[in-house]
């Protein structure tokens, strides 16, 4: 193994650590160095930044990290991503699975949705984020327009759970139910509710949402 490869691996480890340790400035300067050294940007994202975000997600599931920590980790990840993304070689730009996500109309609690977005992006999905307080029909329109694979719906309020049912009803009406998988999550949501309204899956947290999305896309990365 050449020295060069060792150095490149070192950078991956340091990038991963910068994300876990919530150091956005370090993540940015390490990414600059990756580019300056001519190392592969895609590998640095995959084995460095995304790896760090996955470790942060594990710490979150283990209740070592909480929402503030996870947000700061994602700030570090995006700081590195902004620098590395333009340097990805075109042959490495594989077709990503697309997911349209948002918070249902009547609710502006979007931390949960944002965490899911962060974890999906760091796991290689292309995320089309509609934001919060989104009418049911808009999810369907956007999914059709972008030819998405999955629609992800979030809510924290019991008052807006019916909006999730509306999205699925609209899909059925338009004969689109088989074209998109619908996954749901958020405080009051349960697997029972997901089954009842005919959703394709339910996840209890952001890491679970990634596992669910992967399995629904046939185990694709």
């Amino acid at each position: 193994m050449s020295n060069m490869e060792d150095t490149e691996k070192d950078f991956h480890q340091k990038l991963s650590d910068a994300v876990v340790n919530m150091e956005d400035a370090a993540a940015a300067s390490l990414s600059e160095e990756v580019v300056a050294n001519g190392f592969d940007a895609y590998e640095a994202i995959d084995k460095g930044l995304a790896d760090g975000m996955e470790r942060a997600g594990t710490l979150f599931e283990e209740e070592e990290y909480f929402i503030p920590e996870l947000l700061m980790c994602s700030d570090a990840m995006y700081a590195g991503l902004d620098i590395l993304k333009p340097h990805i070689k075109t042959e490495e730009q594989t077709q990503k699975h697309k997911i349209v996500i948002g918070v249902i109309q009547g609710d502006t609690h979007d931390i949960g949705k944002n965490l899911v977005k962060i974890m999906l992006e760091s796991s290689g999905f292309e995320v089309i984020d509609l934001g919060r307080d989104i009418p049911p029909a808009q999810f369907v329109e956007k999914a059709v327009e972008t030819d998405a694979d999955i629609i992800g719906l979030s809510t924290l309020m019991t008052t807006t759970m019916d909006g999730m049912r509306d999205v699925i009803d609209i899909l059925k009406e338009k004969n689109l139910k088989n074209r998109f998988k619908v996954i749901i999550g958020g405080g009051p949501i349960s697997l029972g509710f997901a089954n009842k309204i005919g959703a394709d899956g339910y996840a209890g947290n952001a890491a679970g949402a990634v596992r669910l999305a992967r399995s629904l896309c046939g185990g694709a990365e």
Partner: protein, 345 residues
């Protein structure tokens, strides 16, 4: 089956360890009260007399053991500048925080309930409710706690980052939110009602125990100390996972902790049952909104088997405020299910 005691008599006897006709029960009715008198949810906001009428009618219909005057969590934040969306017939929600950035914190002013038209309507609702049924049932007013109000003033994500990046600014926000809560609590206590505390952002689903100790605990303690000084006991509700902060909720002085269905009553009994009364924790959406009356009965039985023997007692309750459209039949079923459980010391 008619109750033998009024809620006030029941709670008093329960506190003194005397016989009671049934366990206390509080399906936490919020905007479902609008359904009881057939008005739109938004009509209750800013109309104290109608808000009182709805809660008195809901209490009379279901016969639960505590009236909590509540429309949404944002009352204090709104009075301090946060913008709400108020749908015609659903619960109001936050549209935009009061502040755009940290430099604006110094411009915040604590609420003055006597000069705030929306808080005056809440106080009016409390007064009307006390006049009508205060001799038979405890009447409380919902007060949102400092850390949660701070998140509505600053924006939840911004505040979350600030807990790590700029803790001093978070303390400033919590301090001024505490002042607002104290002013509002005072006005409520002057009317004769006890504040009922709710602090969803302090949940263990959101922040760590360390951050709870730093940003939630000191302000909760001051608020609770004040209410105790005015001779009232305090119920503190925190949503989501809370098992790792129950001891701190008790240390802060809560007499009763109201816990979500994400937490276990059996575990709470084990950990803090000898220090605080427990309240909870039937699932608000899965069971109360979507379940059958049989599901409700089973859920109540489970709460009772887990914690009715908790040393400081149990109030069977929903894990959080009930969804507006909770079927009346399920609320009745909850009340009926506790009626089988009498207590004789």
């Amino acid at each position: 089956m008619k109750d033998q005691m009024t809620p006030l008599e029941r709670i008093q006897a329960y506190n003194q360890g005397k016989a009671i006709d049934r366990l206390p029960c509080v399906p936490i009715v919020g905007n479902t009260a609008a359904r009881v008198i057939g008005v739109k949810v938004s009509e209750l906001r800013g109309n104290g007399q109608l808000l009182a009428k709805a809660h008195i009618a809901a209490y009379k219909l279901f016969g639960y053991d505590n009236i909590r005057i509540f429309t949404d969590l944002y009352t204090l934040a709104e009075s301090m500048g946060a913008k709400l969306t108020v749908p015609e017939d659903e619960t109001a929600y936050l549209q935009a925080p009061a502040l755009k950035n940290e430099s604006e914190i110094d411009s915040l002013v604590p609420v003055n309930p006597q000069k705030d038209s929306s808080l005056l309507q809440f106080l009016e609702a409390i007064k009307c409710t006390l006049d009508a049924v205060g001799s038979e049932v405890p009447v409380t007013g919902a007060v949102t706690c400092p850390f949660t109000t701070a998140s509505f003033l600053m924006g939840t994500e911004k505040l979350a980052r600030m807990t790590l990046q700029n803790p001093e600014a978070v303390h400033k926000l919590c301090e001024i939110s505490l002042q607002s809560a104290l002013n509002y609590a005072k006005a409520m206590l002057d009317e004769g009602a006890a504040p009922s505390l709710t602090d969803p952002m302090s949940s263990g689903t959101v922040i760590s125990r360390k951050h709870f100790e730093a940003f939630s605990y000191p302000y909760l303690k001051k608020l609770i100390d004040y209410i105790h000084g005015r001779g009232k006991s305090v119920t503190l509700h925190i949503c989501g996972r809370t098992n790792h902060i129950w001891d701190l909720m008790a240390d802060a002085g809560a007499d009763c902790i109201s816990i979500d269905n994400e937490a276990s009553l059996a575990e709470a009994k084990e950990m803090v049952g000898n220090r605080v009364r427990l309240m909870g924790n039937v699932r608000p959406s899965e069971v109360m909104l979507d379940g059958t009356t049989e599901d409700v009965k089973n859920a109540v039985a489970q709460c009772i088997s887990q914690a009715a023997d908790s040393p400081k007692g149990l109030i069977v309750a929903s894990g959080c405020s009930l969804p507006t459209e909770t079927p009346f039949a399920n609320i009745h079923a909850m009340m009926d299910a506790v009626k089988k459980f009498t207590i004789t010391p």
